[in-house]
Structures are given as structure tokens and as C-alpha cells.
Symmetry: C2
Subunit: 287 residues, 2 copies
């Protein structure tokens, strides 16, 4: 049971955590913190949070667990504003989609209190934003990756583990660099590709007509291009190197398709598409 | 009412057409034709078709409407096998995702009977294959594009129009070249990008782990990579030029993202992602 939980950044990720913990009766009081008062008030109305404040320090001051669920670029100032405030027993965690940059900032700002920080990342979400996007079952049967440091207090890790398990998630451990590489591939790169496709098609002459004739496949394919631009700007800044390597590699992959099309190489095209289909069907299921 | 409908290629598209027409009581007898007897027998068991044959000529011989719903590469031989068989009143149509190549083949093979051919393309489908993927409501509120030629018999066009309208679809007319350009953008390019992404990630060292940590966004994004490889090989061959231009343009778009990441240009990243999000949200809805 978490007596008092502070959620800094009450968007889909933070709100879903609050709802899941409440449903599991694993939290007593949730205090929300953010810059958008309307969003926080909505959070009160929806029963996601029990109180709110615009002051990060105030939210964190008496919290047992502080969850930083802001875009990555806002995390430094959160650490700065809580470092002198948090009690010894308070555990700090985050939900950022890139871990190395957050950890660097945390190490710089938190000093000795770095032992209280558990870097985390729930592998869940959607393109929706704001507190009303919160879902009590968002983490049900999902993975939460934790990338603890040598200096991280094992009791703090255990507390964050139980928190996510109470939401129905399973815990996995990955090294920091490994996490960032894997997520660059499965999440960051696809978001770049989807944003890029929408922008590219929008730039074409007959773009109104193009979108008019888009069918279900296109909707699914571009859904993630409706994701929060600030969040994804920050991911690019935080995990830029891994992302740049992947974008280049992906362009080379596209070149293989182009060459096969240019050569009219039917066997090669069939091989490429057949390989992709069977990989996808077998590895992530036909769904 | 179509007395006798021949469906050449009883996959998701053909089966859905049969089911929709039956539900609307707009067809009396559906004869299925294909090379896979197991698939055709399943079609019988599921009530999708009323009889079947492996002979294209036999299927077409007494049909009022012949729908060619095979991959594009198989259409030439269908035209060849029906040209001397089809009655004067028989209307021939197809469901191919690229129109110029089909029309060229039809013009060459059908000769004077080209007036009986109505080039069509229902903007619907999914990554599933085979007769069991058929859905009676697949065309409900969807668009069917018809690209008639000057030589096309208006009565034949009217017949195909009513056929699709009976399935709940609305009819749109596009020029052939225009159709192929628009579809290259909304459908053919995204399929290449999805196939490319799955192949690229599969080629990485830790690809098992990569797929393990894929979340919902990734599943949606790569769903179309589970599409039929033969169908998409044929699309590449049929609409290669438009596709090559788009792949190149798309790579340039990705370069804009890479440059912004490399420069750490936060404003530019926010602009790119914000533009894409608002385009998608406004043009195809937040769904």
C-alpha cells in the first residue's frame, strides 16, 4: 500500500497508474501536479487524483512515492525542485521512454539521493493525451522495464516493482543502454516513420484527395502520428544517437525494396515481403 | 439482382463481396474459381460461394458478372481464358489496387470486348488472406473507385455501380493515372514502409528482444506487414514507377527528421511532429 503518491505530469501514463492503483486499493491518496490547472481539475472530477497542486515541491514533500510522468525534457526541473524536499523514505521513479538521459540528469541533480531513484518505463500507452486518456487497465499484462543503477536502494526497487505489479504489469530488468537501443527500434523509430509519412503525404499536391482515399490500414499505420509532439521531441533529444543510426539503417532497407522494384525482380520482392510477413506473424502474432 | 456471379480468386476481397451481395439478396448464384481447392471447399462450407470450379473459362461462361479478385499478376491469364467465352451481356470487373497495368492488359487481351470491362477498386481490406477472411460488412460505408475508359459501356458501369452499392459502398470516379498516384501514396507506400520496418528490425542483432518489447503502437504500425506477399509483389510490379518516386520522397522527409535530431533543433522537431499530428487529427480523425 502506498500511503501518499505524487504524480508529476497527469497525462495518460500518470492517470492510468493512479486509476489502476486505486482499483487495486494499492494507494491511499494521489496528489497530481502539473501546469495545466484545467487538466488537474478534470483529474479531480474523474476521481483520478485526490488533490492537486502546481508546486512540484509541495506535491513531493510528503509523498511516499513520486512518479515523474512528464515528457523527458521536463524531468530535470522536477529533480531540481524535489531534491531538497523529499524525505529519506521517499522513492522517486519515472516513466520516460529513454533511460540514459534521465539517469544522467538524476545523477547530477539528486547527488546522494540517487539511491532513492528507480528508473522505470512502462511499455504501454497510446496516441492520446491528457488525464481523460487514463485507463485503469492500461498496464494489465504489460511489461514495465526497470533499469536500476548499482547505487539504487533495493528496497526502493521492490517498492516500485509492487506498485506496477498491483497494476497488473510484469517487471523486466534491462541495462540502460540496452533499453534505449531496444526502444529506439520498437517505439522511437516507428513514431518517426509515422510522423514522416503524414508530413510527406501532406506535402504532396493532391493531399486532400490522398487522405480522402485512405483506408483502415492507413489509419492504423499512422495512428501513432497523433501522439504528443512535445513528448516525441524530447525522445528525439534524449535518444538521438540510437535513433539516427536506426533511421539510416531503415533507409538502406527501403533501398533494397527500391532496387527490387526498379529491377522488376519479382523473386526478390516476394522474398522480402514473405520474410516480413512470417517474422511479424510468428513474433508478435497475427493481430 | 445479379443472376450468376463468377468470382475469380476467392480471397478476402472476393469472399466479402459474395457475402455482402448475398446478405443484400442482390445475387442468386455465386461460382467461385481458384487454384486452391481447399479454400474453395471452405468457401462452400461457409456459404460464401454456391459452387466452384478450377476452370476460369467454365466459371465465366454463363456468368452475368465476372469479378477478377486475384493478385494483379494473375489477371492477364484470366482475361486470356475468358475472352472467347464471355457472353455479350457479361460484365467483367476487377478489384486491383493499381489500374493502369490492368487496363493495358485488358485492352491488349480483350480487344473489342474491352467495352464490357469496368476497372474497379474497393478501398477496403485487411492483412488477412483466404476465404475465411471474408466479411459481409467489409464494404459498408467504404469507397469503391471506378476508372472507366472512354470505350467502357455505360450500362456495364451502371451494373458494377449497383453491385457495390448493394454492399453498402459509395462509388467514386477517378482517372486511371490519378488513381494509381493516390493509391501509391495512401496504400502502396505504407505497405512498403511496414514490410521494410519488420525486415529491418529482424536484421538487427537483438531482434528477438526487440519484438518482445513491442507494444500496441508497434502492432498497429506493422499490421499491414502481415499482408499477402504475392499481392504486394504484384502491386510493386504494376505501380512501380509511382512507388519509386514516393519512396525517394519519403526518404528525403526522413532526412529532415534526422537533420533536426542531429542539430538538436527542438523547435524544428516540435514543428514537424505538431504538423503531422494536426494533419492526421483533422484529416482522418483521431481514430
Amino acid at each position: 500500500m502506498i500511503e501518499r503518491l505524487a504524480i508529476i505530469g497527469v497525462g495518460m501514463i500518470g492517470a492510468s497508474l493512479a486509476l489502476a492503483l486505486k482499483q487495486a486499493r494499492a494507494v491511499n491518496h494521489v496528489v497530481g501536479c502539473g501546469r495545466n490547472q484545467l487538466n488537474l481539475q478534470k483529474g479531480m472530477d474523474l476521481g483520478v487524483i485526490d488533490s492537486y497542486t502546481a508546486s512540484i515541491a509541495e506535491a513531493a514533500s510528503s509523498a511516499d512515492v513520486v512518479v515523474i510522468a512528464t515528457p523527458l525534457g521536463a524531468m530535470r526541473q522536477v529533480f531540481e525542485q524535489i531534491v531538497d524536499i523529499v524525505a529519506e523514505h521517499t522513492v522517486i521513479t519515472d516513466t520516460g521512454s529513454a533511460k540514459e538521459s534521465v539517469i544522467k540528469v538524476a545523477q547530477t541533480v539528486l547527488g546522494e539521493k540517487i539511491s532513492q531513484f528507480v528508473p522505470g518505463h512502462p511499455i504501454a500507452g497510446a496516441e492520446k493525451s491528457g488525464v481523460e486518456a487514463g485507463l485503469a487497465d492500461l498496464y494489465q499484462n504489460r511489461r514495465v522495464i526497470i533499469t536500476p543503477l548499482e547505487s539504487t536502494d533495493p528496497e526502493a526497487v521492490a517498492k516500485i516493482e509492487s506498485m506496477w505489479q498491483a497494476c497488473g504489469a510484469s517487471i523486466e530488468y534491462l541495462g540502460v543502454e540496452h533499453h534505449d537501443k531496444v526502444l529506439a527500434a520498437t517505439s522511437h523509430l516507428p513514431h518517426m516513420l509515422a510522423y514522416g509519412l503524414v508530413n510527406y503525404l501532406s506535402s504532396l499536391n493532391d493531399h486532400d484527395e490522398i487522405f480522402k482515399y485512405a483506408a483502415g490500414g492507413f489509419r492504423d499505420f499512422t495512428r501513432i502520428a497523433s501522439s504528443d509532439p512535445v513528448m516525441w521531441r524530447d525522445v528525439c533529444i534524449s535518444n538521438g544517437e540510437a535513433l539516427l543510426t536506426l533511421i539510416e539503417g531503415y533507409k538502406n532497407e527501403l533501398d533494397q525494396v527500391s532496387v527490387a522494384i526498379r529491377d522488376g525482380d519479382q523473386d526478390r520482392l516476394l522474398e522480402l515481403f514473405g520474410k516480413a510477413k512470417s517474422e511479424r506473424d510468428s513474433l508478435i502474432g497475427n493481430c
